[in-house]
């Protein structure tokens, strides 16, 4: 089973790339693969290359990877409940990352940890550094995960579903936090989410994933205003909107069908069973990601034109 097949991504310094798609589309696997965190039985990276700062990651040794993880590339995971170790103090958990990658002693590491907590706007950081994860709220724990990821000033920050496990108000706070951090620290970020609202606020470029493939890749404006792939278009249209012009309410448009079975994916284009624009070739040939306009890539045999 190929969880991820044919993904081409590029992130430049200071850029935020949003990776959107439904649950199960392979977004998290992509992120884990970048850091080579996919458990190797049963997973395996079959083909391709991952280049970080001009170097090939796939050939690096275990020790070299340990150095890159946390300091070069860092990831903040999606469920703040389960991704923090319940028996360790959160100050220690942040300081651990620092001590692994920087030459500081215990006390200095803890001081830096407190600074990180302040950076992610956790109140009373100095007092709370010796508390345990269960003593924080969900939103606070998400901030802690981000703090851990940022603690060594990584070149690339991967944020996996930062808002999924939170209520709507906290979601807004986290998005604001990421936006502030982005500005303050000139972060390069890979933002993984299925929430289009989050991504349009934070991302410069967007890659749309479906069933393990990247189906469209462009800057955020083009994706939202001029989507070329039917899936992207359907995603954008499925966002509930408050229509003040028509004065009434619109029906929510859902995408027909469901996410394909990854063990036996459909022949040809994986989206074609659900696509309202499909033509004959869609079920036989698999479209590749091609650049149809400057910087705008689509993987579709019959992309949408002129909007």
């Amino acid at each position: 089973m190929r969880a991820v097949d044919g993904v081409n991504l590029e992130i430049n310094k200071g850029e935020t790339l949003g990776l959107i798609g439904e649950s199960g589309s392979g977004k998290t696997v992509t992120a884990l693969s970048i850091m080579r965190l996919v458990p190797t039985p049963p997973g395996k990276i079959v083909e391709g290359s991952i280049i970080f700062h001009g170097e090939e990651i796939l050939t690096k040794s275990k020790k070299e990877m340990e150095i890159i993880r946390g300091a070069g590339i860092a990831i903040s995971f999606q469920d703040p409940m389960t991704f923090l170790n319940p028996v360790l103090k959160i100050g220690d958990q942040i300081a651990e990352a620092i001590k692994l990658h920087q030459d500081v002693d215990k006390k200095e590491a803890l001081d830096i940890a407190v600074e990180c907590m302040k950076l992610v706007q956790i109140p009373s950081a100095r007092e709370r550094v010796n508390d345990y994860p269960h003593q924080f709220s969900g939103g606070m724990r998400q901030r802690i995960l981000i703090a851990i990821a940022l603690s060594c000033g990584p070149d690339l920050l991967i944020v996996d579903e930062p808002t999924t496990a939170l209520d709507i108000i906290t979601q807004g706070e986290i998005i604001q936090l990421l936006s502030d951090l982005k500005e303050k620290m000139d972060l390069s970020m890979l933002l993984i989410t299925h929430d289009l609202g989050t991504v349009c606020e934070l991302a410069d470029k967007i890659a749309v994933m479906y069933a393990g493939n990247i189906v469209e890749y462009a800057d955020v404006f083009s994706i939202f205003k001029r989507p070329k792939h039917p899936y992207t278009k359907a995603l954008i249209e499925s966002i509930p909107k408050l229509s003040t012009v028509s004065g009434g309410m619109e029906r929510l448009t859902a995408i027909e069908g469901s996410v394909p079975d990854m063990i036996n994916p459909p022949h040809g284009c994986r989206f074609h069973p659900r696509c309202p624009y499909k033509i004959l070739t869609c079920s036989t040939s698999t479209p590749k990601l091609v650049e149809i306009k400057n910087g705008h890539f689509v993987a579709c045999s019959y992309p949408i034109y002129g909007n």
């Binding site: 965190l37 991704f83 170790n85 319940p86 028996v87 345990y132």
Partner: protein, 316 residues
């Protein structure tokens, strides 16, 4: 946390009462004259009357129960008519020997078991893993006293490395080395038996813990395998292991009865065996009460340790 500890203490008290009450009912429900049971078959009639008076056998049941409770709680567990000494005194005399045996086995089996369990969890379902799992299962199914006999046969009778029984040599005096030699075989048998269990439990607990999300976070920070296993996984995996250790205390003493018989080790277990042969009921009942109390206390300590180690309980 203090509240929880006090809570645990309070829960232990009714259990101890319950044990004493069970004993009381056993004395009165058993066939035969309770006075004879407590004083022995050979006791003269005056002594029997004395017992009946002291225990209030002619009074109503609930008064008798109260008298008995008061007696036991003040340390009077009756007299062993075989050795003519207070039961409590005899038991306290023999207890350290058993504790010595069980204590060393306890410590070693936990340390080695957890270590082996961690190693086993690194390569689950491999051939070595399956073989060791199966071997543990076999070891755990064999009767410990039989294993003791086989050990004696091999190491004492045939290879003549270790003495066959007892706690010290008649001639050798009480040198530490002599003691250690005598202790080695019985202690090893118990250690091996429990080792099998703790290895399996640790392996299972570690495997469960290693699947958790926060382990992925640790890897993502760049932790080495050693740090992930020992700092992140083990700290969490230990909690269910400690629970199991606590549950096993009562069986620890159980094994001592048969094993001490095989090795002629002068501990509580052997005392019970002698009491069976001599039909010395006060010792049997006294032993039951004392060992129950010890197990209750051991469980209490385990609960407290668990509370200390799990911050989720410590800081509510």
């Amino acid at each position: 946390m203090r509240k929880k500890i006090i809570n645990n203490l309070l829960q232990a008290v009714p259990v101890i009462f319950g044990v004493i009450i069970i004993n009381f009912f056993l004395i009165h429900l058993a066939p035969g004259d309770p006075a004879v049971m407590l004083a022995g078959e050979e006791a003269p009639a005056e002594y029997l009357d004395l017992i009946r008076d002291k225990m209030g056998f002619n009074k109503p049941m609930h008064i008798q129960l109260f008298i008995y409770l008061k007696q036991v709680l003040s340390g009077d567990l009756g007299y062993s008519y075989y050795s003519n000494r207070p039961v409590l005194e005899i038991i306290i005399e023999r207890l350290p020997n058993t504790l010595l045996l069980l204590g060393t086995a306890f410590v070693f089996s936990i340390l080695i078991g957890i270590f082996l369990g961690i190693i086993a969890s690194k390569k689950p379902y491999s051939l070595t893993d399956n073989i060791t799992s199966f071997l543990s299962l076999i070891l755990y199914s064999l009767p410990t006293f039989w294993l003791g006999m086989i050990f004696i046969l091999i190491f004492s009778v045939h290879l003549k490395i270790f003495p066959t029984s007892g706690i010290m040599s008649v001639k050798g005096g009480s040198s530490i080395f002599d003691r250690l030699l005598h202790m080695f075989l019985p202690s090893s048998v118990i250690t091996i038996y429990w080792l099998a269990l703790y290895t399996r439990i640790t392996r299972g607990s570690m495997l469960e813990t290693l699947k958790k999300d926060y382990i992925l976070t640790a890897w993502a920070k760049g932790c080495s395998e050693r740090i992930v296993l020992f700092k992140h996984a083990l700290r969490n995996a230990l909690l269910p292991i400690i629970t199991v250790i606590g549950l096993r205390f009562r069986v620890l003493f159980t094994g001592s009865v048969t094993l001490e018989t095989v090795f002629a080790w002068p501990g509580i277990g052997r005392l019970m065996y002698d009491a069976i042969i001599d039909m010395d009921y006060p010792i049997l009942m006294g032993g039951f009460i004392i060992v129950s109390i010890i197990v209750v206390l051991a469980n209490l300590v385990t609960d407290i340790i668990y509370t200390i180690l799990d911050p989720r309980i410590r800081f509510k």
